[in-house]
Subunit: 218 residues, 2 copies
DNA sequence: AGGGAACTATTGCATTTGCAACACTATGGA
DNA sequence: TCCATAGTGTTGCAAATGCAATAGTTCCCT
């Protein structure tokens, strides 16, 4: 089916042909659910036993504190996988919420099933290895984010993040993958204070930007 | 040997008897190195192919920015494992430094060897599973830290962290696992500003503390 | 016992930040 | 087309924070 192509794009199924994915899915008993824009896909506090894969639409992993400050942990696009660490560690209470940013379709697979499919050993081994690479990758992502968060001023946080984007793009110019509002959430700072700092940085000649296209000025 | 008992305490070898650990080590070809207090165990920028396990002493994972702000990513005690995500993702340049906090002894094991020991299948399978649980656990740790870092004031960062410690201890009272200096680094804030905030919190009756013993006052 | 190193504690000051308020500009549905 | 919603951009202000300086304390090493 159509979904197989989307699954194939996820690291979890890397190295497997579409036929192999289809055959292994048979043993994994996935469940597909649909969500309306804004709906909750995984509620904070819920027990986590499955990993999720976005088949259609977009979602965000977020966290909210007592006073209602929302912090975006990360964005999930088509074929993104989430909740794998929580499922692997058998989390009783999810500390985060996953919400649909647009109408979305999500496939859920039981984590233990992934780890214990004995069906076709080589394929199963592949899955396990891929799952690990994936979790390690998120690990590194979190470390990156922590690096930005560790900076003590808004300017430094921005520059730290911009550096990462520039390196990823391979130049001094890059496009924000976020709205500026979301960027402020991502960096854990006040939006208006961030806007002010962006203006200052532009005035100081540290960066140039127009809309969501930025350039670091040496 | 003596070291086996230390290894046995690490999640990586969970579920294996000391005999099994000894036999699998034979295939893993570990290397043991010794470090003096303050020495660098893993330098930022180096390629990472091995995971490390602390056999003796303590170390810290840290990160330093251009201006020399040191941020502690985490503490490593006896039998702690580190660099597993970097090794798993085949990082070309380590973004962090690991330094000996006391005289230390560290065992290095090649990551790919762990993943490919064919020697005794059940044991090898165990290792892989354990490695994954481990990486997932660090993942959750990083998420926790990120939660503290996401708070917008020093007071909230402290309370967020104190909450975690209290929950871990299972009461309102807990002992700081850090010096206050290190705590400030851990939370990415200025030490003197943090001290000031601690005083205010004590005066406001939010917390009590004496040395490194704290109590949250509801 | 003496000296150094690391940690604790406090304070003044300049700057940064969060917060609140407001206006303006897309954008997408009904 | 019109309205609602989300994002952008700016500003004043009070409060929080980083920074620097300084002093006292503790602990370890010789």
């Amino acid at each position: 089916m159509e979904n197989i192509k989307i699954l194939a794009r996820n690291t979890l199924f890397r190295g497997l042909t579409e036929k192999e994915i289809e055959s292994i899915l048979f043993y994994l008993n996935p469940v597909v659910r649909k969500y309306k824009k804004g709906n909750i896909i995984l509620a904070a506090g819920a027990a986590v036993t499955d990993v999720g894969i976005i088949l259609k639409g977009r979602a965000v992993i977020e966290k909210e504190d007592i006073r209602g400050n929302r912090s975006i942990i990360s964005e999930l696009g088509e074929s993104s996988l989430f909740a794998e660490a929580l499922a692997c560690a058998r989390a009783e209470h999810s500390p985060v919420t996953v919400a649909a940013e647009t109408d979305a379709e999500v496939m859920f697979i039981n984590f233990d099933k992934i780890m214990t499919v004995r069906a076709k050993t080589e394929i199963a081994g592949r899955l396990v290895k891929n799952m690990m690479t994936l979790i390690a990758g998120k690990n590194i992502f979190l470390n990156n984010k922590l690096e930005h968060a560790s900076k003590r001023s808004i300017r430094e946080k921005l520059l730290s993040y911009f550096d990462e984007l520039a390196v990823k793009t391979g130049g001094r110019k890059f496009k924000l993958p976020f709205s500026k509002t979301a960027l402020a959430d991502y960096l854990f700072v006040d939006r208006s204070a961030m806007m002010r700092e962006l203006s200052h940085m532009k005035k100081d000649g540290v960066i140039k930007y127009e809309g969501d296209v930025f350039e670091i000025r040496k």
